[in-house]
């Protein structure tokens, strides 16, 4: 079944996230990061930073940090078991740090299919801001297999 294109333009409920040094420490450990500005508050402070630096892909983790991160997929009637993460794109405007409060405001911006509907693609664009200032844009492409 093809997803109804009326869902293009659907707003995703906005949410706010404040990244913590605690979680970033585990993220650094998991990803093999050795530069202490990514996990040690004292080292970040010594480097003149207001907090631990949020690494490039952590914006995705924060975008997912809500009760129902795939509510928009559910609304379209798609089966989660057939869902894959196809692409992830970030555009960066400003660095962000532990302790910053970030607002995530997202919208479904495209729905298309390939191979006669065997693969369907849902594009979600999210703008991340800090006190109204744009810091990062995310584009998440979800693939739904037939």
């Amino acid at each position: 079944m093809l997803i109804d294109k009326k869902h293009i333009g659907m707003k995703v409920p906005p949410h706010a996230v404040t990244p913590t040094a605690w979680q970033l420490k585990w993220f650094a450990k998991a990803t093999g990061e050795t530069n202490p500005i990514y996990f040690d508050e004292a080292a970040a402070s010594k480097a003149g930073l207001p907090g631990v630096l949020v690494p490039p892909t952590f914006f995705f983790c924060m975008d997912m940090d809500k009760d129902e991160p795939f509510d928009y997929i559910a609304t379209m009637g798609c089966d989660f078991a057939k869902m894959l993460h196809g692409e992830q794109i970030f555009t960066y405007h400003k660095p962000v740090y532990s302790g910053d409060t970030l607002d995530f405001d997202g919208q479904v911006t495209d729905i298309y299919d390939k191979k006669n509907g065997a693969l369907q693609f849902i594009v979600k664009d999210v703008k991340v801001s800090r006190q109204g200032e744009a810091v990062c844009d995310l584009r998440t492409v979800i693939v739904i297999r037939a």
């Binding site: 690494p55 983790c61 997912m64 993460h85």
Partner: protein, 139 residues
């Protein structure tokens, strides 16, 4: 960290690469905590076997995080303008990720001298798991 000189770089130049430790169950548990993604596909062998799969596998975004580290080992993070990845294959337990990147284009973007990099996260047999590109502003 110094920003590489735009004039000194050429299309085809490689940036410093690295190979990760083999991805282990511990890696995935740590990534679950760090990322907040506790999906059982990455953590629970009983669950994945009930779904007919052989074993748990890595979070796709773990590989992208490795490629992010490849970038931030080369330039300060503030120089990264954009970074995108396509997930092309699953990463299994025991695979070490070979992270490489090369300059594919020199360009001016919004008045800045930039390079476009093609980045790859592959296993040691050369199977690409993630293909990425990034635009980085240089001095």
């Amino acid at each position: 960290m110094t920003i590489p000189n735009f004039e000194a770089l050429n299309v085809g130049d490689e940036i410093p690469s690295f190979t990760t430790e083999p991805v282990s169950r511990l890696t995935l548990a740590l990534y679950a905590t760090g990322s907040g993604d506790h999906h059982p596909l990455h953590l629970d062998q009983d669950y994945v076997r009930s779904k007919g799969m052989k074993d748990v596998f890595a979070h796709g975004m773990l590989g992208m995080a490795y490629l992010g580290r490849l970038l931030t080992q080369w330039v300060p993070q503030g120089a990264i303008r954009s970074f995108g990845v396509r997930f092309t294959a699953i990463t299994w337990i025991g695979e070490s990720m070979v992270c490489t990147g090369k300059v594919v284009e020199k360009l001016e973007q919004n008045g800045e001298k930039c390079v476009r990099l093609e980045l790859t996260c592959a296993n040691e047999q050369g199977e690409a798991k993630h293909k990425a590109d990034a635009v980085v502003a240089l001095a």
